[in-house]
């Protein structure tokens, strides 16, 4: 394939990389790009990674995104009750969205403004409090902006490093916010005080562009890595197997 990879393809690969090293645990991606990322990881470098159809069926082979009636090779049954059991067991890595995320990795999907009388009520905290203190958690942000990357979130749904530490050893013993993947780059918390750091920038994205789009100071490594490009095999799997109807480009612009 000679044409340049799309931003969506770069983001899928960046999401896949978040699951590298996870082995035989359940990848729980929320959204199109994270779903493709988890399945791509399973088809390439994490062959034992576990994933579902997004509903109650654990799949032994991926189905094309959008083909809901495609035949499924089911290997286990995971209704929500079982899913909660898995969350509490620690055998899961969830990749959630984030309306807001801060420099310590706190995430908000619950509301904007004061919780008692929000300016904008959103979903509620969903499973974020339990996910983050039981299992590794990553976040996917399709549109990186200072409204999303904020100094402090309005309602801590997913727990960040500062809050987990302050809440004591029961909160922090299994806590790990792994990666935040956006349309501009990949971010992690591998700094001495667990503040957000640039892990890599996507091809063509400048440091200034990321700084302008982020509402707090990011730790910047030197040299600054570039997000790994999709391989020809990654791109073939995406186009022919995982996402033949090209849903990936609808979720991330560019």
């Amino acid at each position: 394939m000679s044409d340049t990879p799309t931003l969506a393809e770069v983001c899928v690969v960046a999401c896949a990389e978040a699951f590298r090293g996870d082995g035989e645990i359940l990848a729980s991606p929320i959204g199109v790009i994270p779903t493709l990322g988890a399945r791509l990881a399973a088809l390439t470098f994490e062959p034992d990674l576990v994933y579902t159809d997004g509903d109650a069926w654990q799949l032994a082979a991926p189905i094309p995104l959008g083909d809901d009636d495609a035949p499924k090779l089911v290997e286990a049954w995971l209704p929500f009750g079982k899913m909660f059991d898995i969350v509490w067991s620690g055998r899961r890595h969830v990749m959630m969205g984030a309306t807001q995320v801060d420099q310590h990795g706190n995430q908000n999907i619950a509301c904007i403004g004061p919780w008692a009388r929000p300016k904008a009520q959103l979903l509620g905290v969903r499973g974020a409090p339990g996910n983050t203190v039981n299992d590794p958690t990553s976040y996917w942000v399709p549109s990186h902006s200072p409204r999303v990357f904020v100094p402090a979130v309005d309602c801590v749904s997913g727990v960040g490093y500062d809050r987990a530490a302050a809440a004591g050893p029961t909160a922090s013993e299994f806590h790990a916010v792994r990666h935040v993947i956006s349309n501009l780059g990949v971010f992690d918390f591998e700094t001495p005080d667990h503040r957000m750091r640039i892990r890599s920038l996507h091809p063509g994205v400048t440091l200034d562009a990321v700084r302008d789009a982020t509402g707090f100071e990011l730790a910047v490594p030197d040299p600054l890595p570039t997000t790994r490009a999709p391989t020809d095999e990654d791109r073939r799997l995406l186009r022919d197997v995982l996402d033949p109807h090209d849903q990936r480009d609808a979720e991330v612009a560019g």
């Binding site: 929500f80 909660f84 979903l123 969903r126």
Partner: protein, 287 residues
Amino acid sequence: MTADKRLTEDDVVAELRDGMTIGIGGWGSRRKPMSIVRAILRSPLRDLTIVSYGGPDVGMLCATGQAARIVYGFVSLDSIPLEPYFRAARQDGTVAAMELDEGMLQWGLRAAAMRVSFLPCRAGLGSAIMDNNPDLRTVVSPYDGQELVAMPALALDVALLHANRADRRGNAQYLGPDWYFDDLFAMAAQRTFVSCEQVVDTADLTATASEQTIKVSRLFTDGVVEAPYGAHFTHCVPDYPRDEAVQRDYAASAKDPDGWAAFRARWVDLPEPDYRRLAAASLDGAR
């Protein structure tokens, strides 16, 4: 003579009282007991506390102002992420809220089902849940000093469920891929009323489906309502999918000051047989 627990939606509502705590089964916009919810919407019941993995059940009870307090982990229409009437009620300050992690909600129901006052869990620690619910306490393990959230029991006066099938005695069958936490809602409640697509003879429950699909035993149910399309417009697979067109109309109605009045005139204030004809026609139109 064995008990025949068949009732109508209005019979169920006659058993409810102002101020009750009512748990509603299903999940988001999936297999909600909407025909019983509609009967509540048409009633003068008020000051209700609703415990739910919330969808349009919560939204509609906010739209009428009958819900005074919502206990939830989320409220969503699934294919439309945000529930418009729940949002408006929260933003206008017209409904009180106990917001929980989804697993904490499960644990609160489990504690009620076990008749204990709390169950310990890790979920909630460090999150805003602990700030926004000042009554929540932690507990220290007597074994190793581990500090955990003491999730209080969420005892329900009544649980309302919708199943695919049930028999007259109140055994409820779930034919879709997930029965969510319906069994737990039933066990956490003093009384449970289950609506279903079809009431069948007990022998017919297992004529074509496995015994494992009968998820709620008559031990935990007090009434059975035969309600074809009883979950509409939420989905009730494999009987019917979500009616996305009606759900879109419902969500859009919240943008218009007179929208709820218009929606309820079309989809709430009508006899159930008429509703079923409308729902069937709408689902047929989507096929």
